[in-house]
């Protein structure tokens, strides 16, 4: 796994994903927006390589893995496996391709059918694809069980009789049964004890070398990723924010989100003083992602309009908070019931905007220009509506981060990062804030 000369755009990748989009339809009958679980992701996985996908929970990394395996209905984009477009496979071609691409699941308790014996579980893929004769299959299952560190005598046992780690081994044996080339590992160790985690990871590494497997490892545990992966992709809100070789990416992250994510890893050495980047709020809903860059609502590296250079750090924090409140209200005001309430004059919302302003800006000093804009927004909110006030604030304090979707910028050989700061006219993230790594 550590062949580090292998990097970036392989000339002949095994898996190649182009502009993949997977949306979940809204539960509501009318007027609902789809959840954009995976929103235009492109990357390649070379033969024998391990690519990690990391991100907070809900960022779409599991959906990405399932979409690559065609377990989800993909809305747009292509997935090439060995040069063949698997999104276009017919029923029969799909069935035979499924032997080549397998998945290992996160939860050992639901990954295997508990009403079947271990032998039946591992054997089923062989049965499905009509592999050899009956006794061939039996021998192969016994062999597989030994390969993953179980015993052939476990054939007639039930999963109930095994521990979590052993169950995970059963799941791995089942994934290996049809002799796949590519395996998606969906958080394969996150539900296990730490001591067992290392054993399973070592097993997976050994298997990769022995059987020349290609892995896509989905994880939120960064230390696992660093230990195992050749390259890492960082996902946020359905988009790949940064992609690069593991060590380089961990040592010098380019993207602001990657920086924030990495700064959350605790250091073993308490004397190293490290400035953690704390992100404001929680990730936005993938049903209603921010315009422009998905990370713009929480980004500590956000590009700011030059006319408000005089505003200090504390001031910006307050301004962003104020804008978040207004945005929130504007979004709710779009709802039918709230609109009706407002029209009928029964708007029972707790704090008037004026008080929100006094609360936020009472103890900070803002330059005159900024303060004047905010006061105007408050007045507009009272006279015309919250939506208009939001637009006013967007005009005054918004930037390219909120209006344009950032492109993938190559930041080094084999590295991509999605951030406007990589454009020539702006400061690079590491120039902008030097206090973190």
């Amino acid at each position: 796994m550590s062949d580090s000369e292998r990097s970036g755009a392989d000339r002949d990748p095994l898996v190649s994903v182009e502009g993949l989009r997977t949306y979940y339809a809204s539960e509501r009958l009318i007027g609902g927006k789809p959840v954009k679980a995976v929103d235009g992701v492109s990357f390649e996985i070379g033969r024998g390589e391990t690519v990690g996908i990391v991100g907070e929970s809900g960022c779409g990394k599991t959906t990405l893995g399932r979409s690559v395996l065609r377990l989800e209905d993909v809305d747009a984009g292509r997935v090439y496996f060995d040069g063949r477009d698997v999104t276009e496979l017919g029923r029969r071609e799909l069935k035979s391709w499924r032997q080549d691409a397998q998945m290992v699941y996160q939860n050992p308790n639901t990954a295997v059918n508990e009403r079947m014996t271990v032998g039946q579980i591992v054997r089923e893929p062989l049965d499905v694809h009509g592999w050899g004769t009956d006794s061939d299959r039996r021998d192969r299952v016994a062999e597989l069980l030994e390969t993953v560190g179980l015993e052939a005598e476990h054939y007639h046992r039930y999963p109930h009789q095994f521990s979590g780690g052993q169950r995970q081994r059963i799941g791995i044996a089942r994934a290996l049964a049809p002799e796949p080339e590519f395996i998606v590992l969906d958080e394969p160790v996150s539900a296990l004890d730490v001591s067992v985690q290392a054993k399973i990871l070592n097993l997976l590494t050994d298997l990769q070398e022995e059987l020349n497997l290609t892995y896509m490892l989905i994880a939120h545990d960064l230390s696992v990723v660093r230990h195992v992966c050749d390259r890492v992709g960082v996902m946020y809100l359905g988009k790949l924010m940064e992609l690069g070789p593991t060590e380089e990416l961990f040592r010098s992250p380019s993207n602001p989100y990657t920086r924030a994510l990495l700064s959350a890893i605790p250091h073993a050495d308490p004397t190293v003083s490290q400035d953690r980047i704390t992100l404001r709020g929680s990730p936005p809903s993938p049903r209603d992602p921010p315009t422009g860059c998905g990370f713009s609502t929480r980004c500590p590296f956000k590009i700011r309009p030059t006319e408000h250079d005089a505003v200090d750090e504390e001031g910006w924090t307050r301004i962003e908070e104020f804008r978040a409140v207004l945005r929130d209200r504007a979004r709710n005001a779009d709802g039918f019931v709230d609109g009706l309430k407002r029209r009928l004059g029964v708007d029972d919302r707790a704090t008037p905007i004026r008080e929100v302003r006094d609360d936020l800006f009472g103890d900070v000093s803002l330059p005159e220009a900024a303060r004047e804009r905010i006061d105007r927004a408050v007045a507009t909110a009272a006279e015309e509506g919250v939506t208009e006030a939001t637009e006013l604030l967007d005009d005054a304090f918004g930037s390219v981060c909120e209006t344009e979707v950032p492109d993938d910028h190559p930041t080094a050989a084999g590295r991509l990062s999605r951030c406007h700061r990589h454009r020539d006219e702006y400061e690079e993230p590491d120039e902008y804030r030097t206090d973190t790594r």
Binding site: R66, L69, L71, G90, R91, R92, L94, K95, S96, R98, Q99, A101, Q102, M103, Y105, Q106, N107, T110, A111, V112, N113, E114, R115, M116, T117, E124, P125, V128, H129, H156, R157, Y158, H160, Q161, G171, R174, A175, A177, P178
Partner: protein
Amino acid sequence: MAAGAVSVGTAVAAATGPTATWVRGALASRGPAGVAVVGLSVLLAWLVGVVVAARVGSERVEAATAALPPRLRRPAERVGLGGVVLVGCWLAVRFGAADAVHAVGETALAAVRPIADLPTLTARETVPNRGYQLPDGTWRGTFLGLSPAVAWGVRVLLIHLYVLAWAAWVWVGYLLFRAHYRRADWTPRDDAVRRLRGHRWGQFGLVVVGLFLTMALFAPSLGTTTAEQNLYSPFSHTIQYYDPDLGRVTEILVGNANSQTRSVGYAAENLGPGSYDRFGRFHPFGTLTNGKDLFTFLVHGARVSLVVGLLSVGASTVVATAFALLSAYYRGVADLILVVTSDTVMGVPRLLLLILLTVLLADTPLAGLYDGGVLLALVLAATGWPFLWRAFRGPSLQIAERDWVDAARNYGQSPLGIMRLHMLPYLVGYLLIYSSLVLGGVILAIAGLSFLGLGVTPPTPEWGRAVDMGREYVATESWHISLIPGAMVTLVVIGFNAVGDALRDVVDPQSDSGATDPSETESRGGGV
């Protein structure tokens, strides 16, 4: 068992004749019935095709349809193969091969018949209880000259001991198999069996259900007299009795004897439980208003209730399970269609629907099968499946979410295979629980319908009709006519509900009636 084979064989032969005639008529009329027949044939062709395709092996089948566009291949294979098989069968029947089949069937039946005629331990001929009493007090014709009551009691005891021995043999055999022959040293089912051992309420239910099953299975031997003689054609049979007026043994038609043994509410004309009539016949539960023996009536009625109940619950369980698996696996439109359909069926008051369907279908050949029992079962199934489907849908949806279902899809298992191997095994517990709960309700519904004069046609015995007959006499000497069958219906329903409760506790101890809400179906265990 051989006797059972003979009777099933005869019944099948009897049923095919009118059905074939009806199908021919329906096709000739070119009406909706004809369309239904054609639709059913295509469905049948598809089902047969699925089986044949699985047997023949897919490569050969695929080669045959390679010219068709991919989307059409699979249905074409299925319907085509099935069609070939069906047309082959039809041609065989049309051009005389049927006679050969018939001859083979007759030979098989002839071979089985002598075995069926061998004397058995539990047959009524082994321990006869029918006889007459001479003035000196001795009994003639009964087993060892015992009184009919004692002879009958001996036979009942023998039958129950026989059943007990069988049950013990099965249980011991299971334990032996588990200890010595099974390859897995432990299965999840072992835990369920262990839990059942400590479940007293469930064991009570099992005993009640066991007694009910015995009653239904051994009805011809358990009755004090035969159904044919006492219930169906009393005017074609005679019995001997000692007439004290004439001073000698005389013969009398059973029908005439019955007319003198009626229970109609006052002491002069009433034969209560455990009494002898003047013809020397013993009536453990007394007689009906028409002088027939209540006990014989009830044991044969148990058979009718059980057959109709099992048939209807079986049919609705199969339909409900298939639909639950489909709606859980495919969701979306399939689920929506099923929700709308079942809600429509459930929206109509069930009793009205039952009456309507029973009356509407009364002229079809279905109504002739098993004295209307088959029609009744189908009508109950057609109106009852939505309730079961509701109960199965929740757990099915949960199971369809599990990773192993996803994994099966990932290694290319077919939808049918996933439903069968990875979803159905988790539903079996629910199937048993809910079907046993519903079976009690169906038995009650059958009784309720015959109480209203619908369903199984007289003179076929049915518990509800006995309750109906005795309705006027509940407060008189003849209280037994209504009360004994009523109490038995209640007991059986309680028994099936107890078994259902036990199964739930045993199969799924975590649920504790919390995970799924069985209250809907449970309360429905109570009636129509």
